[in-house]
């Protein structure tokens, strides 16, 4: 309930902030660009999009839709003052014969993202999924890649899907059926630990709540991972757990004490950075900021980070505009 209220307030603040500006979705298809405006811009652009196309979303709120082609969906980043939001359930349902992968980058999804079907490896990059992720059915067969993202509430993967989580914060990992996970340099919070069968984790931090069952199943493998929490050892039942250890929140993190807020960095404490137990298999630190893809929100495409437009033109119709480029 609390989460719902926070989401609604956030959306209202966001709506107020953007009420005076029209949001734009630009659809790029083989060198041609088509613009769509307003709340339904994404819905209309996605309807016209073909496999391999790119849809760029401006700052502001867009209504969600169902993506039916292997397209790239780009936003203004999740760390800017005015991010791109998608409101409502975003469904990804791409035909098996479409070999282009779906990529979403730099977007906050206010509602659940859902994937279903059998299709090429979708990527979730530098996104925040405020209300979780789930696959749809036991027949789903998707290789899901999550990089430098924050997934809140749940990350439920089923069917015969495979999920690779890289340098991401994930709240509530759970998987079902024959799905399996591999994770590298992640912070995993309040997970359904007992469900993580046949999963392989390296250099990750398992931040447990006070669940009495917060233990990973015996067929799970962990290497150089750290358990953080309420005196639970999440690795206690594992057969393969080289380099794994346990610590308290205070020992491990600079700013994370067991409750999520958007402002948290999940950086290790200075003591942890100097502690061998917090070194990963590659010698860098465990958690979000070590490994081959340290957490950052710099997008893979250029972005206008700010625009200051003169209040009015001069009497000759000239307008002064200052932009920032990332």
């Amino acid at each position: 309930m609390k989460k719902l209220i926070i989401s609604v307030v956030t959306m209202m603040v966001a709506v107020t902030g953007f009420a005076q500006e029209t949001v734009v979705a630009s659809l790029s298809h083989e060198g041609e660009t088509t613009m769509f405006y307003g709340l339904t811009a994404l819905v209309n652009a996605a309807e016209k999009a073909q496999s391999g196309d790119i849809i760029n979303l401006s700052r502001g709120i867009f209504n969600a839709t169902t993506i039916k082609a292997g397209i790239t969906l780009r936003g203004a980043g999740i760390d800017s003052d005015d991010p791109t939001y998608i409101n409502g359930k975003l469904t990804i349902q791409i035909p098996t014969e479409d070999t282009n992968r779906f990529t979403i980058e730099g977007i906050i999804c206010n509602s659940e993202m859902r994937m279903s079907g059998i299709f090429s490896s979708p990527q979730i990059v530098k996104c925040k999924l405020s209300n979780g992720f789930t696959t749809n059915s036991k027949t789903d067969n998707i290789d899901i890649l999550v990089v430098n993202s924050k997934i809140l509430d749940h990350f439920n993967v089923g069917g015969v899907c495979r999920a690779s989580l890289i340098n991401s914060f994930v709240d509530g990992v759970g998987f079902y059926d024959d799905a399996h996970f591999m994770g590298l340099n992640c912070v995993l919070f309040k997970n359904a630990m007992g469900n993580l069968h046949n999963s392989v984790w390296k250099n990750c931090i398992f931040a447990t709540s006070n669940h009495s069952d917060a233990a990973l199943p015996t067929d799970c493998e962990c290497t150089n991972c750290v358990g953080v929490g309420y005196n639970n050892d999440p690795f206690r039942d594992l057969k393969i757990k080289p380099g794994c250890s346990n610590a308290t929140y205070a020992e491990a993190f600079k700013d994370f004490t067991g409750s999520y807020t958007d402002e948290l960095t999940f950086e290790l404490s200075d003591a942890a950075k100097a502690n061998e137990n917090f070194k990963g298999t590659d010698g860098t630190q465990v958690g979000l900021y070590g490994g081959p893809q340290p957490f950052n929100l710099i997008l893979s495409y250029p972005l206008i980070s700010k625009m200051e437009v003169g209040e009015k033109t001069d009497d000759k119709g000239q307008l002064e505009v200052t932009i920032g480029v990332k």
Binding site: E21, M182, D314, V321, I323
Partner: protein, 436 residues
């Protein structure tokens, strides 16, 4: 982890054991009394101080070998009958296999000394494999063995040296002293002997050596020194790694074999999707032996540098049919945009970055007011044309019902709207059309 090894003792063995223990039992009436096997006493290698007991049930008895390292061992066991009388000890040599290996291991091939023509196979590989050394004479031997996986591929040959001792000697002997070559100062001892005893030749270089050994009885008396010459060979030295065999994740159908390169070995992961993967690999030697698979986790991610923008493109409101482009100077990000074609009022400006290859950024939007005074643009549509003449004429006929931009309509700035303004506007239109 397999905590327990299940060593299957064949039913025939049990029968023999039971028969053996009836020998000393003589009934007062002169008839042997029949007993039944109740339990099994056993110990491993030279560690007779750690005798364990397992109850006998059916044809198999579970033996706890969890404390043993992987490698060759000897189990010594005695059947204890229902009158608690232990039978004559028997011994069996076996190999404890690495639990990781047993996941794919199907059987064990082995042979002794140089007798590679007499390869024996053990299909019982549930953590331990029983070795039949019964045909060997007492003395020093080498066992060579290979794990065969479920694809029928034999792994690299491992070799271990051991001494097979006379069972009658071992009944009262307590230990074995041995040393190599002329190094009598480095005597090694193994306690309690029976059947076979491993000797540690790991410190020796490959080549010809002599082992000297003495049996010590339980009174501490050393027997006659015996010596045997032997060649220490390293199976790995003989076999030269020649190829690499690898596959990714669970896709064993796409196994690749490639010649081993000097230094770093490249593997082709180009067909893999971005994400986390597991590389499984095996070394194949020049004799075709395939090593036990090893695995390593890695990630494949195309690190893409964001392309630098070279231009900006912009348009007003929803007029994307009239997008304008201008060069972008990253050192000077303050731009002057020409909005002179816009009528007075509030407008939106949309800007996107454009990279050299035409890639676009998400648009950014800002609002502004146009205050340009365009004399003659009576209807404030950004243009001065015949429509403005019609509108100003209508206004002059009925100023109540027609709305005009009075600043633009007052062409001569005399603060009146009249025929002089109409003539001025017509004049502008004529000049403009003439110029076009």
């Amino acid at each position: 982890m397999r905590k327990y090894l299940l060593l299957t003792i064949l039913l025939s063995g049990l029968t023999l054991g039971a028969r053996g223990q009836s020998d000393p039992e003589i009934d007062l009436s002169g008839l042997p009394q029949k007993t039944t096997a109740k339990s099994l006493r056993y110990w491993f290698n030279a560690d007779a101080n750690s005798v364990k007991t397992a109850s006998i049930s059916g044809s198999a008895t579970t033996i706890d070998a969890s404390a043993l390292k992987e490698g060759i061992h000897t189990i010594h066991y005695q059947i204890v009958d229902s009158k608690n009388i232990a039978g004559i000890p028997a011994s069996k040599m076996f190999i404890k296999v690495d639990p990781k290996t047993t996941a794919t291991a199907k059987s064990l091939r082995y042979w002794f000394d140089t007798d590679a023509d007499n390869v024996q196979t053990s299909n019982t590989l549930n953590g331990a494999a029983t070795i039949n050394a019964s045909t060997l004479k007492e003395g020093i031997h080498t066992i060579h063995y290979q794990i065969v996986d479920n694809q029928g591929t034999a792994g690299i040959t491992e070799s271990k040296m051991f001494i097979k001792l006379n069972a009658m000697i071992t009944a009262k002997s307590a230990s074995l002293r041995y040393w190599f070559d002329t190094d009598a100062n480095t005597i090694k001892t193994t306690t309690t002997l029976s059947g076979t005893t491993s000797i540690d030749a790991s410190g020796l270089k490959e080549g010809i050596h002599t082992v000297h050994y003495q049996i010590m009885d339980n009174q501490g008396t050393a027997g006659i020194t015996d010596s045997k010459m032997f060649i220490k060979l390293d199976a790995r030295v003989e076999a030269k790694a020649s190829k690499l065999r690898y596959w990714f994740d669970t896709n064993k159908s796409s196994v690749v074999e490639t010649a081993l390169a000097e230094g770093a070995q490249m593997v082709d992961a180009s067909a893999l999707a971005e994400g986390i993967h597991i590389l499984h690999y095996q070394i194949i030697d020049d004799k075709g032996n395939v090593d036990i698979p090893a695995s390593a986790m890695f990630i494949k991610i195309a690190k893409k540098e964001a392309a630098k923008p070279t231009k900006i493109r912009y348009w007003f409101n929803e007029d994307d049919a009239n997008i304008k482009e201008t060069a972008l100077d990253l050192a000077n990000l303050t731009l002057t945009i020409d909005a002179s074609d816009l009528p007075k009022g509030t407008h939106e400006l949309h800007i996107q970055l454009v990279t050299a290859d035409g890639e676009l950024s998400p648009a950014i939007t800002g609002s502004f007011a146009s205050i340009i005074i365009k004399k003659g643009d009576v209807n404030n549509d950004g243009k001065v044309d015949a429509t403005d003449v019609v509108v100003i004429t209508d206004y002059m006929a009925d100023s109540e019902s027609v709305t005009i931009d009075k600043t633009n309509a007052d062409f001569n700035d005399d603060e009146k709207i009249n025929i002089a303004d109409v003539l001025g506007i017509v004049n502008i239109i004529v000049i403009t059309e003439g110029a076009e």
